[in-house]
């Protein structure tokens, strides 16, 4: 698989090496996990200790960190440590060790982990959080953040080509450019669109966030027709006045009907 976010990876690596933490924002499927894995590989290649914390229950997450840092998960008597105890151990260990922490899907972290991350951050621990729409509070508000931009059409086209190749599915340029319109620079959607086309399913509608609903602008433009009414008064031309009035009523009706249409629900998939 080709890696398209070289620039972003370089920014994250440099900022971590300068002991600065980062919050990386991106839509679902924008390639955050892939980017996180690339950052980890790059840092490990340079000989740094770097932990990519998996998407799991808090206990498993903290255990993955302790095992990487070589912290024992039992006390002197041989009893298992609980999560707060393990978190304390990591805090103490990281005071003297240089290691980088990467959290994928950080918006799903439980408050227990998030408070602990704040303590780590206060201690000066460099970390990178990758998240989609995280709450605007705590650690997410403290970290400097940057947003992953949609991939350029060229990259999406390559992803479409690679996915089609894997499926032994031949696509014409015309089909590819049609599919591109459904992706909006999102690699996950690129793969999905190819698979849907392979299964001969008609695509429902684009799921990407690179869409601007122009309905309000259109309604505003139509309402300009109301100016005719004012011109009619100014020029003392009754027919213009009447036409302006009719236009305004028509726009009012269109506006009412358009706004009565059910809104696009981005939170839930509906048939």
């Amino acid at each position: 698989m080709t890696f398209y976010r070289q620039k972003e990876a370089a920014i994250i690596v440099q900022s971590l090496k300068a002991a600065e933490s980062l919050l990386v924002l991106g839509d679902t499927g924008s390639g955050k996990s892939f980017l996180a894995a690339q950052v980890q590989t790059q840092l490990q290649k340079e000989g740094y200790l770097c932990v990519l914390v998996p998407q799991d229950v808090p206990k498993a997450q903290i255990l993955s960190i302790t095992s990487c840092l070589g912290i024992p998960d039992t006390n002197i008597e041989g009893g298992k440590l609980n999560i707060p105890q393990l978190q304390n151990e990591v805090l103490i260990a990281l005071e003297h060790t240089t290691a980088f922490l990467l959290f994928d899907d950080a918006h799903r972290l439980t408050p227990l982990v998030r408070y602990w991350l704040e303590r780590l951050h206060n201690q000066g621990q460099p970390m990178a959080l990758f998240a989609t729409n995280p709450p605007a509070e705590g650690i997410f508000l403290r970290l400097p953040r940057f947003t992953l931009q949609p991939l350029p059409p060229k990259a999406i086209k390559q992803i479409i080509g690679e996915t089609a190749n894997k499926l032994n599915y031949e696509l014409s340029n015309s089909q590819m450019s049609q599919m591109l319109a459904y992706c909006g620079g999102c690699p996950l959607l690129a793969e999905r669109v190819v698979k849907e086309s392979y299964l001969e399913i008609d695509p429902e509608g684009p799921d990407h966030h690179q869409q601007l609903d122009i309905t309000p602008f259109l309604v505003a433009l139509l309402m300009l027709a109301g100016i005719v009414r004012i011109i009619g008064i100014g020029l003392n031309r009754t027919s213009l006045y009447v036409i302006g009035g009719l236009c305004l009523v028509l726009v009012g009706i269109i506006r009412y009907l358009v706004y009565r249409l059910p809104k696009n629900n981005r939170k839930r998939l509906s048939p």
Binding site: P153, M176, Q178, L180, G205, D213, L218, S239, V242, N264
Partner: protein, 345 residues
């Protein structure tokens, strides 16, 4: 969207916005509506310009660069010389192209109208209510657009939207406005429904418009009978509806007449007998009696001051004035208006 929908959408938009029904202008706008789809080799324009469509397919999204304001500006600049030949055709080219891609806002994927931004403009926001190419909704839209286009071609090829509306409403102000616009080129015939205020007789017949008096009233004539018709003011006929039903092309001539102590007949007999006179005329001596039937407008009003008679004329027919003045001397300040029908020349 299919090619035919694009053609009809662009033609309809141009027809409404430019207020024209010229088949050449509308055809150009319709064909320009197909041009944005040159970015796919499946479209008609893509088939025609294969090398260009193959290049665009390779490097851009469908409904991408060609469906943008940027592309519209480029087209406007490239075709700028056409403005010297015919500004309306130039407007049709630019409007047709822009409406061509704008129509695709209503499709599932929308358009990259703000290219080079990857943002896609869509309407409405819920993709379920947007139109899939070749769907039943598209044919419904096509039917609606075709009806709208036919209606506006009919309106534009007649006397335009405003006058069509006035015709439907049958309003007095509509007839006055049309007279103000066209009175110089056409003799307008108006059908009036209403009643005569003085005689209380119902009125339902056609009159020729002589002149306008206010925003709501006109002087009209039927043969030698003159009336003030309208909805407000000092009226002979109170109209419940006034519709302009006929127009005959005329040549319109105006002449100002100022004279002092001359033989009135010498001056008036040089004028066309059926021309209208408006103004004041002072006659030495008395004039014959003026009789106007009840319920009509007297276009000549006479007042006697000792040996002098003052005639106030409001679109009075020259022939009638001549009958009164006979061989008297007089002074006057008049405007003569003559409407000569093309057929009569």
């Amino acid at each position: 969207m299919t090619g035919i929908t694009h053609i009809i959408f662009s033609a309809t938009g141009t027809c409404i916005l430019l207020g024209t029904s010229d088949p050449i202008v509308l055809s150009i706008a319709g064909l320009m509506g197909l041009v944005p789809d040159v970015d796919t080799s499946r479209s008609w324009s893509g088939q025609l310009l294969k090398p260009l469509s193959h290049y665009l397919e390779k490097h851009h999204d469908h409904r991408g660069i060609t469906h943008s304001l940027l592309a519209s500006i480029v087209i406007a600049l490239l075709t700028a010389p056409v403005i010297l030949l015919n500004p309306q055709i130039y407007a049709a080219i630019v409007l047709g192209y822009t409406l061509g891609w704008f129509a695709d806002c209503f499709t599932k994927t929308g358009v990259q109208g703000l290219y080079p931004s990857q943002l896609r403009l869509v309407c409405p926001g819920n993709p379920k209510y947007r139109i899939a190419t070749g769907s039943k909704a598209e044919y419904f839209l096509l039917t609606f657009l075709t009806l709208t286009l036919s209606l506006f071609i009919w309106i534009n090829s007649g006397s335009g939207f405003i006058q069509s509306l006035n015709w439907i409403l049958g309003s007095s102000f509509g007839a006055v406005e049309q007279y103000k616009q066209e009175g110089g080129q056409y003799l307008l015939t108006v059908h009036i429904n209403g009643r005569n205020v003085q005689t209380q007789q119902p009125v339902d017949s056609q009159f020729d418009i002589v002149q306008d008096l206010s925003a709501n009233s006109l002087i009209v004539r039927q043969g030698d009978a003159f009336f003030i018709a309208g909805t407000q003011g000092n009226l002979n006929i109170e109209a419940s509806s006034m519709r302009v039903v006929g127009r005959k092309p005329i040549t319109f001539a105006v002449q100002k007449l100022d004279f002092q102590d001359k033989l009135v007949n010498d001056i008036l007999s040089n004028l066309p007998m059926d021309s209208y006179l408006t103004g004041e005329l002072l006659i030495d001596g008395e004039v014959g009696t003026i009789t106007t039937p009840v319920g009509q407008l007297s276009t000549i009003q006479a007042q006697t001051f000792g040996r002098i008679t003052k005639l106030t004329l409001t679109s009075a027919i020259t022939k009638d004035v001549l009958k009164l003045t006979k061989n008297s001397f007089g002074s006057g300040s008049l405007f003569m208006r003559s409407l000569e029908e093309y057929a009569a020349r």
